[in-house]
Amino acid sequence: MPERYIARSTAIAARLLGGEMMVMSALDSTFFTLNEIATVIWQAADGRTPLSEIVANKICEEFDVDRERAQRGAEQFVDELSQHGILLVSNQPLLNSCPPQENS
């Protein structure tokens, strides 16, 4: 499977509140609440770090989960958010596409 790079869309509004990351699409007002693992992926989505590296260095390091399972979950999460235009996904690094980190 080719490497995937992910970046947060600029057409979103996001906020970390009470330990929960809330994300809303500015295009269709879809609202998501991200769990802990999804929040880590979201925060690491800088367009430059491959998804597999995020899984290996962030998810597997911080949570008690095996790599294969974490990768499957991450792919699913990325697919869902990308369908709503909330995450941008590419097989190449997404340079200059990532908005600044949201407020906490």
Partner: protein, 272 residues
Amino acid sequence: MSAALTLTAKHTVSVEIGGATIALHTVDPSFQRAIENRYAGFLGSSADSHFVFDIDLCDPSESGPADDELHLQMEKGEWLLQRGNFRARWNPESRRGWIHQTYSSYAVDCVLRIVHTLLLASQGGFLVHAASAIRGGKAFLFAGVSGAGKTTISRLAPPDATLLTDEISYVRREGNQYLACGTPFAGELGRAGENVSAPLCGVFLLEKGLQNRVEPVGAAEAIQRLLRNILFFAEDPELVQLVFQSACEFASLVPIRRLVFVPDPAVWEIIR
């Protein structure tokens, strides 16, 4: 000379909601009276106007149905508003606007709601589908979609409560607190709220049930439910972001809880 002046004379009605006054100019004296009647209790002085709109009345045959979808977009520094029975332009910088509409206060109502929505969004406030009332110097909001019980909770309010609205509440930010202000936007109750304000001390998400109780609500659900009830127009991404951030700020400063209630005046005993 005097005849020419009479023909071009503009009649002004200034409508003051939430401390912001919007002057409405019309050449039709009967429409002026209609607007004055509609916004009785919320009339201000034209000398204090923050914004001015010229109303241009048109024949109903020129317009579409009133329930057409609203379109709102920013173009060259001006907001363009369009719905079946009106078209409007508003330039926030020059503080002037224009409404082309049929002889109906409904179109004015729509424009006022939109202008206040845009105005509040830039200041961290919002209009929200909620009843609101003041009791003991504190304001409370009761949010919910149509049928959730906004009018019911308003009808059950004790005599010492001041009703701000049973339909659309006005929330204005002032530093680290929020004020709830009365609005002329009424629901099934059919009467405008009082034109007063008070610090907002809590929001209750309405839910009909078998007994009266207040339940805590998590931050994410509180914000999601609040956003569902806030009036905004999703066609403009910048506005969506502003409203989202405002809702998050609001939820971090004002308690949002669920109010499960039965239609009985005793429910007001747990509102505090």
